[in-house]
Subunit: 237 residues, 2 copies
Amino acid sequence: MALSTVEARLTGAPLGGRKIRSGISTTKSTEEIVDSRFDRRLAKVLRHAARIFCEKGYAGASMRDLSRAAGMSLAGLYHYFDSKEELLYLIQKHSFRTIIERAEERLKNTRGAEQRVRVFIENHLEYFLANKDAMKVLTHEDETLKNGRGAEIRAIKREYYRICLELLEDLRREKGLQFSGRIAVLGLFGMINWIYTWHNPRVDLNAHELAEEMSNLFLCGVLHPGKTKRKIPKANA
Amino acid sequence: MALSTVEARLTGAPLGGRKIRSGISTTKSTEEIVDSRFDRRLAKVLRHAARIFCEKGYAGASMRDLSRAAGMSLAGLYHYFDSKEELLYLIQKHSFRTIIERAEERLKNTRGAEQRVRVFIENHLEYFLANKDAMKVLTHEDETLKNGRGAEIRAIKREYYRICLELLEDLRREKGLQFSGRIAVLGLFGMINWIYTWHNPRVDLNAHELAEEMSNLFLCGVLHPGKTKRKIPKANA
DNA sequence: AGATTTACCGAACGAACGTTCGGTAACCTA
DNA sequence: TAGGTTACCGAACGTTCGTTCGGTAAATCT
């Protein structure tokens, strides 16, 4: 793999994909097979890595732990990335990009400031609970990456923050309310990110129900308990 | 220091104190001076350790980092505790015990379910922001300790949880409300513990003001913005 | 078929880790 | 003032760390 950085290969495809070699090629299907094989194996490594980082923390997990979990030799791991730090970066970037992408997709089809906030919350919790390991690693290791990679993740984080802030300011405008946007966003993120510290799927509500409870709590507080909406309809007008 | 475990010495005094040697003693003032000197030095070490754990995480901080921060040799540190793990334990236990003690003290003098919840939140934020390093270490490293020490910290945590839960259930009863106590407690803890990830004293409100904002948000939600109470009076009847 | 690239692996690298050991000055008690 | 305790420290212990190197069998391209 010549110069080999995964980062250098990151462009479009699922996990960033592998750079398509330019030049004459009779069939491109073979290339795609090679590429997606690499990507599938990388994705598997990332899944196992997320699980171990989740259990032991980034600093507490050793590359030997990861190799054991992935069923691959220590040296073999380095075929897929250049360093432990890049591994964390790939996990965080993929999770963040995906949750933002999905939020934007769902918000495109939702009108009404309050409903949009509810959809944002539901999207967050749904993705969070379906990808607990990676999302814990994203939230818990949020100051771990430094320099370039850290800056890039922090930029994505600000983007997500801004989406939420705008939803809340729309709500404030629409209903003529008064509250601090910053405190509201950060209070909301606290509620919904804290979940990784306590949620037990055998005891607690599923993502959809939890989103409703959390939305009611955030929107109405404990003193004005929720108008329990039965379903969050995917309004398209 | 004979058998030397700090843990073996933990009984009453500030940080656990040093076990008072039993036996005949003409003056006990000398013993107290020795004891408090040890405690003062230990407290200083713990303060520096909390700062480093806060910056680099427990696993990411080395004993050499700690020795540098405390201005003491690596070996010298071990005069005050037996292991890195015990150091984390001492930091967490002291913070947790203190915040609970203060909450109970303040709640003794407060009537009215809503007011008691507000006092609980204000106590939490006040201690949290005044002891940011230690409180971040307490919240961030909440699954780090294992076995005996871990169980002990988790027991204190449950105690704190229960205090909050009872306040909320009192509120629910007093006002005839309906909400899930568990979700409310955990949502509230999310809001107020998440603060360590964003609070900047140069930009953000101080503890008292923040407590008011957070209390209003939690109690009334963003749709029913807060009855801004000017002062939280220390009611004594 | 021969040449190249891919996908690994065993073994080793030097650095850093938490902890311990043997000392030694300063202080306290008797 | 002799004897014991306290409060450290320099140097080293064995282990584990992230990463690299040289190799190889299989897959792919020409």
